[in-house]
């Protein structure tokens, strides 16, 4: 039985460490990306869609590829400027270990907090499914100060509040 690496990663649970899956040409781009970056550590309740787009966003941050990061934007807006701000603030740290904490549930949208171990920075992002049924990110932070700020509400450690929003 063949399957994609992402599928194996999901099946493996929270820690995305996969070695035993075969692949085909359709997944070679994913494999290239996956093996070319640090594996993303995941906490919380991702869906296949939210996990895939957050994984890709972290890779693009690590690559410093602002155009590809901006392409993940799910709607019109200052995506390019936001992508430049994010790469500037988090690009270096994204090359190291990153943990993504997926809050609540990810059927159509999800709040995700990224923890960059190297710099001890945190960053809150929104992943959501767009009107064309592909997952993307909300990139609407043209102000560098806003783009580099960490969430005040998030716990110090990933999963620290059980990946559930208060009241949600």
């Amino acid at each position: 039985m063949r399957r994609t690496l992402l599928g194996c990663a999901l099946a493996a649970g929270a820690l995305l460490t996969v070695t035993a899956c075969s692949s085909d040409d359709g997944t070679s781009a994913y494999q290239t990306d996956y093996t070319g970056h640090e594996p993303l550590h995941v906490v919380g309740y991702p869906s296949t869609g939210s996990l895939g787009v957050v994984q890709e966003a972290v890779w693009r941050l690590a690559d410093g590829d602002t155009d590809a990061l901006a392409d993940l934007s799910v709607e019109d807006g200052p995506a390019e400027k936001t992508a430049r701000n994010w790469v500037e603030s988090f690009g270096r740290a994204a090359k190291g270990e990153v943990t993504a904490d997926f809050y609540d549930e990810g059927s159509t949208r999800q709040t995700v907090v990224l923890y960059f171990a190297k710099s001890r920075q945190t960053k809150e992002i929104t992943a959501r499914i767009g009107d064309d049924d592909t997952w993307g990110l909300v990139l609407n932070e043209s102000d560098p100060k806003e783009a580099s700020a960490g969430p005040t509400w998030a716990p110090a450690k990933p999963g620290g509040t059980g990946s559930r929003s208060a009241g949600g």
Binding site: R3, G106, S107, T111, G162
Partner: protein, 542 residues
């Protein structure tokens, strides 16, 4: 071309016809031969009502005449024709990627839907057959979801699993798991793990209701606290904060319970014990002393609890959404829904005025005084109770899009509320329609049917749907949400109840059964919080 809203009798005069017309034409002015009547005929069949169509010349051409030909026209070339293409129905394809996980006296089978549902528009039902090594059948279960827990099996026995998909048009070939799996008991027995999970869920519920004021108290009340104290301590601040935020708005949760069903305990590939179960959580949200009964808040989720061992004692260290953790993508991209809806580019919510309800400093709707007048009674032709009933009854209906919220709302208005369709170009905000072809296997819908911002524009500009306050909201109204960092409204839900303090909502996207306060609370304090909420009252005639 106009849809007739009232029955028409031969004794009525032409002038009376104008009063029976829908307020907007069903279709734009175009030569009659170019009109596609399939959508309106489909709506008559689906809504089980249809009073007919009226054709009116454009104002500038009222002096001219229009002619039509019947099936008895002398010139046979002028007679209307009905052409029917027959397409033979087909059975679905086989399920894909069957995976089997053994457990204690049972197993979990998961799979992906067939790439091809054949002629069926609806999702198939699945049948799972478990056989022993000698080929004899050990168990058989059916499931509407692409997964099933099978219990009642013997331990230390090898089993194989085969899955078939069935629709009204036939049954697929069987798909089988790659290898046989062998069931096995877990150390210390399943009951111990089940008890730990039960106590953990009870302790969590106790923190939310206030039965336990602190996490220390919650742990002290649980004999198996040592097995889940770290997980509960991590969640406690959020639960307490939630309880206190609700209390500030006069609300409290009571009678919170959690029940486990379809339980499977086993050992995963890493040697860790897992407990997988459907968790039914129920609670009652009471809003002040004048709300003795409260509103039921309930949800069902399949959860996977994973344990580690620390010197022999099991420690519950991870709780995850089971279907998400067990999903395996099919190699074909066809598991992703097709690209079917895209909004017009360059939209902004401010392009079309809205009248959002007032939110307070906590982000919750401002409490209104009881002196607020009810909304003016409108000559509503959309049945609010019908919309709400449909939404409640069909909350589990199949998602047709990755983002299905507005499609769900439109179906509730159409099938439940009997809101009339409007013809027009697929991308135009004036139109509101859906079409299915080939037994539903091909769908085509106006952007306003499935896109939230397009829907809001349609309702506001073309149906003159008024905005109502939270207090005046009633079943069948539609709630639309806009997030701070997004340019347009991106989520819609149906109101199914209003107790004066909060609205009960049904939605596709997020928790299916929720309240307005809970929906807002999820994003409170986030950078991308809900900044605007508008409540629209659908009507079809003004």
């Amino acid at each position: 071309m106009y849809d007739l809203l009232d029955p028409w009798t031969p004794t009525q005069k032409g002038g009376e016809l104008l009063a029976a017309l829908d307020e907007a034409p069903f279709a734009d002015a175009a030569p009659l031969a170019d009109q596609d009547l399939a959508p309106v005929v489909q709506s008559w069949l689906e809504q089980e009502s249809g009073e007919g169509l009226a054709v009116r010349l454009p104002a500038a051409e009222r002096a001219s005449t229009a002619a039509y030909h019947s099936a008895r026209a002398t010139d046979t070339a002028l007679r209307p024709k009905l052409e029917i293409d027959y397409v033979a129905p087909t059975a679905p394809g086989a399920p894909q990627d069957v995976r089997v996980t053994p457990g204690d006296a049972g197993l979990l089978a998961t799979w992906n839907a067939p790439q091809d549902n054949g002629s069926a528009g609806d999702e198939p039902q699945y049948t799972v057959v478990v056989t022993k090594a000698d080929g004899s059948e050990a168990a058989r279960v059916t499931s509407p979801e692409p997964r099933a827990v099978v219990g009642g099996l013997a331990n230390g026995t090898a089993y194989r699993v085969a899955v078939t998909a069935r629709t009204a048009h036939g049954t697929s070939p069987a798909a089988t798991g790659a290898d046989a799996v062998t069931t096995a008991a877990v150390p210390a027995g399943s009951a111990a793990y089940r008890e730990i999970v039960r106590q953990y869920l009870d302790a969590r519920a106790g923190l939310l209701t206030g039965k336990h004021a602190t996490v220390t108290a919650a742990l002290a009340a649980s004999p198996r606290a040592a097995s889940f104290q770290d997980l509960l301590k991590a969640q406690a601040p959020g639960l307490v904060e939630s309880r206190e935020a609700l209390a500030r708005h006069g609300s409290t949760y009571t009678d919170a319970t959690a029940a486990l069903s379809d339980v499977l305990v086993g050992t995963d590939d890493s040697g860790r014990v897992f407990l997988r179960a459907a968790v039914d959580e129920k609670a009652v949200l009471k809003q002040g002393a004048d709300d003795p009964t409260g509103e039921a808040d309930e949800g069902r989720q399949e959860q996977r609890f994973t344990f580690s061992t620390n010197g022999g004692a099991p420690i519950l260290h991870l709780e995850a959404d089971a279907p998400a953790a067990e999903t395996v993508l099919t190699e074909s991209a066809s598991t992703w829904q097709g690209l079917d809806v895209a909004p017009a580019e360059g939209q902004d919510a401010d392009d079309v005025p809205d009248e959002p309800i007032a939110l307070d400093a906590d982000g919750f709707p401002v409490e209104e005084t009881a002196t607020v007048r009810p909304a003016i009674a409108l000559r509503a032709a959309v049945s609010g109770s019908g919309t709400a009933k449909w939404a409640s009854k069909n909350i589990g209906t199949k998602w047709e899009y990755g983002q299905d919220c507005t499609n769900f709302v439109s179906k509730a208005l159409y099938y439940g509320g009997r809101m009339k369709t409007r013809m027009g170009g697929r991308k135009h905000d004036r139109a509101w329609w859906q079409q299915y072809y080939l037994f539903g296997s091909i769908k085509n819908k106006s952007y306003t049917w499935s896109g939230t911002e397009n829907f809001r524009r349609h309702m506001t500009k073309y149906r003159k749907a008024p905005s109502v306050s939270k207090r005046n909201a009633r079943p069948g109204d539609i709630v639309l949400f806009k997030w701070k960092k997004e340019r347009v409204y991106n989520h819609a839900a149906v109101v199914v109840g209003n107790n004066g303090r909060d609205l009960q909502l049904r939605q596709h996207g997020g928790v299916s059964r929720t309240t307005l306060s809970a929906a807002i609370a999820r994003y409170r304090n986030k950078a991308n919080y809900i900044e605007r909420v508008v409540i629209l009252r659908p009507k079809s005639r003004s």
